[in-house]
């Protein structure tokens, strides 16, 4: 940690306490604008969720923040370092774990750790200490000589995280880290992310699982390369403060949706598993009115009632609004 004062000096240009500071970041691929004038900042030690549909520009943004891709315009400071001026400096500062398991499957657990220790240039003593840490963190003691391809998904994913933070980066990028992993392992993985954050490590994470995003301190939703919403989960759910959400369990959900869509009190509907969520235009409306309307069309309603909006409601709402604009 002897280089901390140096890092502080470097980040003097930006607001103190900011791990990531993005201003007007833009990237074109030919005529296609993948990332369009993106601005946000992430505080030291924050878990920052980065949500968006496939192709919304998440990966392009991360690649720019990691110094892998040059921005067309705008600036991004990562750990106080300008990504377009010193991409190599950024790479030394950050850890990165991608959506694929980027480990060498034909190598053992320890050989993978050794490889990453080698390419990050860890000294022998520090490496031995960090290897111990990674083995413990990933729960891989006693499996050091197992081939990575023979590890269950959850272990592999924790090993990948361990390799990404072997060099103790202050900022970690996780690009859909929990894809294809069972719920228990995902839970454990988020506990690890929480530990990192408590140690002051900044985590920027993208995910498809919106229930996971609830673990993030703040969430940014991007759509078509633009920032569509930004805030804590609670703040984001405020968009529904004047528009209650009613959850309906009906015998024919799809028909129920088309009936509700015609109802003047309903703004929109969406399918949530086997239930239907209807967003009402007015908070004063009694949901039982909707139940009557449905029964009049011969649809059985087993339950109806107001629910707290989930992040999924928020996400769909934001994406639809931006898409319509």
């Amino acid at each position: 940690m002897s280089d901390l004062p140096l890092r502080a000096a470097k980040s003097a240009a930006s607001e103190p306490g900011l791990a990531i500071d993005v201003r007007g970041l833009t990237r074109h691929f030919g005529a296609f604008v993948a990332v369009d004038d993106l601005s946000f900042s992430v505080k030291q030690g924050e878990i920052f969720g980065f949500l968006g549909a496939n192709g919304a520009g998440k990966s392009t943004t991360i690649r720019m923040l990691c110094g892998l891709l040059k921005p067309t315009s705008g600036t991004a400071l990562v750990g106080g370092i300008d990504v377009s001026r010193d991409p190599e400096g950024v790479k030394r500062t950050i850890g990165y774990m991608s959506q694929k398991f980027s480990l060498y499957e034909a190598l053992t657990v320890d050989q993978n750790i050794e490889f990453f220790g080698g390419i990050y240039g860890l000294s022998r003593d520090r490496f031995v200490e960090r290897r111990k840490f990674v083995r413990e963190m990933a729960g891989l003691q006693g499996r050091e000589d197992t081939l990575t391809r023979d590890l269950p998904g959850g272990w592999r994913q924790r090993l990948a995280l361990g390799c990404a933070i072997l060099h103790e980066p202050r900022i970690v990028f996780l690009d859909e880290p929990t894809g294809g992993v069972d719920p228990l392992s995902r839970r454990r993985f988020w506990d690890l992310i929480g530990d990192l954050s408590r140690q002051g490590v900044t985590v920027l994470v993208t995910t498809h699982y919106l229930d996971e995003a609830e673990h993030c301190h703040r969430i940014a939703i991007i759509q078509a390369g633009k920032l569509a919403a930004l805030g804590t989960a609670t703040e984001l759910k405020q968009v529904f403060s004047s528009r209650p959400i009613v959850e309906i369990h009906a015998s024919q959900p799809v028909q129920a949706m088309s009936v509700l869509d015609k109802n003047p009190n309903v703004e929109k509907t969406s399918l949530f598993g086997t239930s239907v969520h209807a967003v009402l235009k007015d908070a004063s409306l009694d949901p039982s009115v909707l139940a009557q309307a449905l029964r009049a069309e011969g649809i059985e309603v087993s339950s109806i009632g107001a629910v707290m909006p989930s992040l999924e409601d928020v996400f769909l709402d934001v994406v639809e609004r931006v898409g319509a604009a």
């Binding site: 892998l68 790479k91 991608s98 694929k100 050794e114 240039g121």
Partner: protein
């Protein structure tokens, strides 16, 4: 340097884990040598021969037996009627006919010029010209011997000097085509393995996504590339030496020159081949494409444009120019000089320089493309 070693030891471990590929890399080249070495044989033996001997003398029988004893011809039988000769050739029973005129022995003893006729089935031009060469050599030898025999003894007067052409073929006196072909095979096999294995190893990392992870690390392309190709260089080197050793064992390939020079030539050649593989890996996105491009770009030029099988001097001038960018062309000259002639560096330094230039240019292009892709 430590980073390079980290990449190299990772790569080596991957190769060692995948023992099937390792076996393929190490031993398939030697196996190829066996297959090609026995199949690609341009020597012709036991050409079927019919004899029309109109003289039926001691001398005519001597000439016939010199043909048979040479091992190139095998006597099917004696024939008299010209119609019968035609029939034998038409049926493919014989591929050559030796016709000795009447008065052969008499004319020979009187030192009068005498002509024998050799007829060769020309349906395969290559074979025909080779057989014709054999026949001419045999007849020349025979006539030379006769001249000396019929000269009066040295006591009375000095013999009339017999002026005869004495063809000598150096380095490969029996003109065994295997000796000529084996260096070509070594080039051909090493080229393919080096180009293909290098191209595949890089593209595999692209496909699996591990390349992306490595690029996120503070690792510049150079240590990555050196670390990645080094193990393959060592393996293809060992494999090339194995091919040479088995050629010495199986095909009596002489090793007349210095092993040090040989290793130098192989090293330069392999570095160039690996650079070519790297260049391909920067273009191809999938292992399948990489494999095909690597195979085509190494196999065809090495086979056709290197002088391995077809002599460069007999190619059209434009094609001859093209051969200048085929590294195997230079490697072959160096290899044949070292192995067959035992020549020292003065004989083929230009070829070594050309190999070095190829390696440098290919490496430069590959690293240029790679660092563009990397950053």
């Amino acid at each position: 340097m430590r980073k390079t070693l980290a990449v190299a030891s990772k790569e080596l471990r991957q190769i060692l884990r995948d023992q099937r590929s390792l076996l393929i890399l190490l031993f398939v080249p030697a196996f190829f040598l066996l297959l090609y070495g026995y199949a690609l044989n341009f020597d012709i033996r036991n050409v079927t021969l019919a004899v029309q001997d109109k003289d039926r003398s001691t001398k005519s029988r001597e000439l016939v037996s010199s043909f048979v004893n040479s091992g190139y011809f095998s006597l099917v039988g004696y024939v008299d009627a010209p119609a019968e000769l035609d029939r034998l050739v038409d049926l493919g029973r014989v591929r050559s006919i030796l016709s000795i005129p009447a008065g052969f022995e008499r004319d020979l003893s009187m030192r009068k010029p005498v002509t024998v006729q050799v007829i060769i089935d020309g349906d395969n031009a290559n074979t025909a010209s080779t057989v014709s060469g054999y026949a001419r050599t045999l007849i020349n030898e025979f006539s030379g011997a006769q001249m000396q025999l019929t000269s009066p003894g040295p006591a009375s007067r000095p013999p009339v000097p017999v002026i005869s052409v004495e063809p000598r073929i150096w380095y490969n006196p029996q003109l065994r085509s295997t000796l000529f072909l084996v260096p070509g095979l070594i080039a051909y096999i090493s080229m393919i393995t080096a180009v293909v294995s290098t191209a595949l190893s890089v593209v595999r990392e692209k496909e699996r996504g591990t390349m992306e992870q490595v690029r996120m690390a503070p690792l510049s392309p150079l240590p990555y590339i050196i670390g990645k190709t080094m193990p393959y260089l060592v393996i293809s080197f060992v494999s090339a030496i194995l091919v040479i050793l088995s050629a010495m064992l199986l095909f009596d390939l002489p090793m007349r020159g210095s092993w040090l020079l040989l290793c130098g030539a192989i090293g330069l050649f392999l570095i160039g081949a690996q650079a070519q593989g790297l260049l391909i890996s920067t273009i191809a996105e999938t292992q399948q494409v990489a494999f095909q491009v690597a195979l085509l770009s190494s196999l065809l030029p090495t086979m056709i444009l290197s002088g391995f099988i077809f002599p460069i001097s007999s190619m059209p001038i434009v094609v001859q120019w093209i051969t200048h960018i085929v590294p195997a062309r230079y490697f072959l000259v160096a290899l044949r000089s070292i192995v067959l002639k035992g020549a020292d560096i003065t004989a083929f330094w230009q070829e070594m320089v050309a190999l070095a230039i190829f390696a440098t240019v290919a490496l430069g292009l590959a690293s240029l493309r790679l660092s563009r892709e990397w950053a």
